[in-house]
């Protein structure tokens, strides 16, 4: 089980959290101008990489706030936790 440090509440068990998928995906500003392929790219295509993965988590059964996590998908080691709106720390970029 992962132990995740919520930026507001501190270290808690994984079961308090909800995984929110890949982080830093920007919604296209003018969806109506996009081709179907570009829209599908935004909506469905995944990085799904092996290694350092930037993802969102929500502290669902705690403060209910969202934050970003950098995790190694090969080992599950959490390398960095940073707030929504922040850029990933340089060590995980």
């Amino acid at each position: 089980m992962l132990m995740i440090s919520c930026p507001w509440c501190g270290c808690r068990e994984e079961t308090e959290f909800q995984h929110g998928g890949e982080a830093h995906i920007k919604r296209p500003e003018k969806p109506e101008t996009l081709s179907d392929a570009s829209w599908a790219e935004y909506l469905f295509m995944e990085t799904n990489n092996k290694g350092i993965y930037l993802e969102r988590w929500a502290h669902r059964y705690g403060c209910r706030r969202w934050f970003n996590v950098a995790r190694n998908t090969i080992t599950n080691e959490i390398l960095a936790i940073y707030k929504i709106g922040e850029n990933p720390p340089s060590k995980v970029r």
Partner: protein, 416 residues
């Protein structure tokens, strides 16, 4: 290939089973093939077998990084069924079930298919409605499916907790009599032996490190055993589909998650069917060795760890004890996980790609084992004819652009 039979068994018994030949060769890769299949799991081996058997294409190599059947083929809970809601899914899973029904004879290899039935429990009014809708859809698609009332369920499973005061009371179930289990390793080995016999080269311990193209068509692959050229290449690698597809510059709508399974200590025969529950979320059957084989949903976050979280184990064991209180005294013998590739619509992809001669078969998620022969059969057709069979045409990669998704999330009798 020496045919397996009662006579060969007796003959070999006389020499204390020391003289059985190898079931398949282990050749070095040739420099060129008509078709290369990346991935020696059940689906890849089935594809090779049906390419050779149905389409006469025998200059084929199956390239496997580890050993055949060592990935999800050897890690699943071996359940086979075809009682899916949507027409597209029903067609492909029932094609697969039909192939399974003749597979032991076809391959001359006992895959130990046991059609003991698959039961999907309903715990509330919504479940009952969903189950009845699915049963009716199944019947319209020619798939055997029936409703069981609580009395009938109790007759079939005397040990199940039917108390009306249970937290999740059992109100009914759908039942597919043709469903059941098969020996997963035997499926991989049987396909491997039969494909090898038809001339397919099975190359293990050979990792693919790159896919090379020439003028919009596939040309060759780089491997740890050298460069191999091919007219056509198929990617059939389940959990690592995104990585291999990336070698050809293709992004996929896939996330990879650990899916856990476990077995209990062996006990005398106690469950003679497969029981699945969506609401409390566990599925259980009993292996021939007597172990209870347990599975449930995926872990909540994507990962390549083949390990999984303990809270998922806890959840499925509590679900098991809710349904069968007497199992609370059993001990768990082994637990493991495989990395499954999940599509946004929980349906697979068996498709051509934008690159000529490159095909992909992925996205089977939590339900790939039951589809092994059907998936291979469809992909073989797609490779040989360079166009999909009508069964796998809806499962194309393009559906994520057109929006024609096949949404099996929750529709497929068990949550993913």
């Amino acid at each position: 290939m020496k045919k397996y039979s009662i006579f060969s068994l007796v003959r070999n018994a006389l020499s204390f089973h020391q003289d059985w030949g190898k079931a398949w060769r282990s050749p070095s890769p040739k420099s060129s093939y008509d078709v290369i299949i990346i991935g020696g799991g059940g689906h890849g081996l089935a594809t090779a077998y049906y390419l050779a058997k149905e389409h006469g294409i025998t200059n084929v190599a199956v390239i496997e990084k580890g050993w055949i059947g060592g990935g999800n083929t050897g890690r699943n809970t071996t359940i086979i069924r075809s009682n899916y809601l949507w027409d597209e899914s029903a067609a492909i899973y029932d094609k697969s079930l039909q192939l399974y029904e003749g597979l032991s004879t076809d391959l001359n290899y006992n895959i130990m298919l046991s059609q003991r039935g698959v039961m999907n429990l309903a715990h509330n009014l919504h479940d009952l409605r969903e189950i009845n809708r699915r049963i009716n859809a199944n019947i319209l698609n020619g798939i055997d499916s029936e409703f069981l009332n609580p009395t009938k369920i109790k007759q079939m499973l005397p040990i199940i907790n039917m108390s009306p005061t249970a937290r999740f009371p059992i109100l009914g179930a759908s039942f597919q009599p043709r469903g059941g289990v098969a020996r997963h390793d035997a499926v991989a080995w049987g396909f491997a032996r039969a494909a090898d016999n038809l001339g397919v080269d099975i190359i293990q311990q050979c990792e693919v490190t790159g896919i090379n193209q020439k003028a919009g068509s596939v040309a060759s692959i780089n491997t740890t055993k050298g460069i191999i050229t091919a007219k056509k290449i198929a990617i059939v690698v389940a959990g690592h589909s995104s990585q291999i597809a990336e070698m050809a510059g293709i992004r996929l709508p896939i996330n990879s998650y650990p899916l856990q399974a476990m077995v209990s200590e062996p006990i005398k025969p106690i469950i003679n069917t497969v029981v699945m529950s969506n609401a409390v979320h566990v599925y259980v059957s009993q292996s021939d060795k007597g172990e209870l084989v347990l599975g449930a949903g995926i872990d909540s976050y994507n990962s390549y760890t083949q390990r999984g979280s303990i809270n998922v184990v806890e959840q499925q064991l509590s679900a098991l004890c809710e349904l069968f209180p007497l199992f609370s005294r059993l001990r768990i013998l082994r637990q493991w996980a495989g990395v499954v590739d999940i599509c946004p619509d929980a349906s697979p992809i068996i498709s051509k790609t934008d690159i000529n001669g490159l095909y992909i078969n992925c996205g089977w998620g939590t339900g790939g084992f039951k589809a092994t022969p059907g998936s291979g059969w469809c992909l073989a057709h797609t490779i040989a004819r360079d166009e999909p069979h009508k069964i796998n045409a809806p499962f194309n990669l393009n559906r994520f652009q057109t929006g024609a998704l096949i949404d099996e999330h929750g529709a497929a009798a068990v949550a993913h």
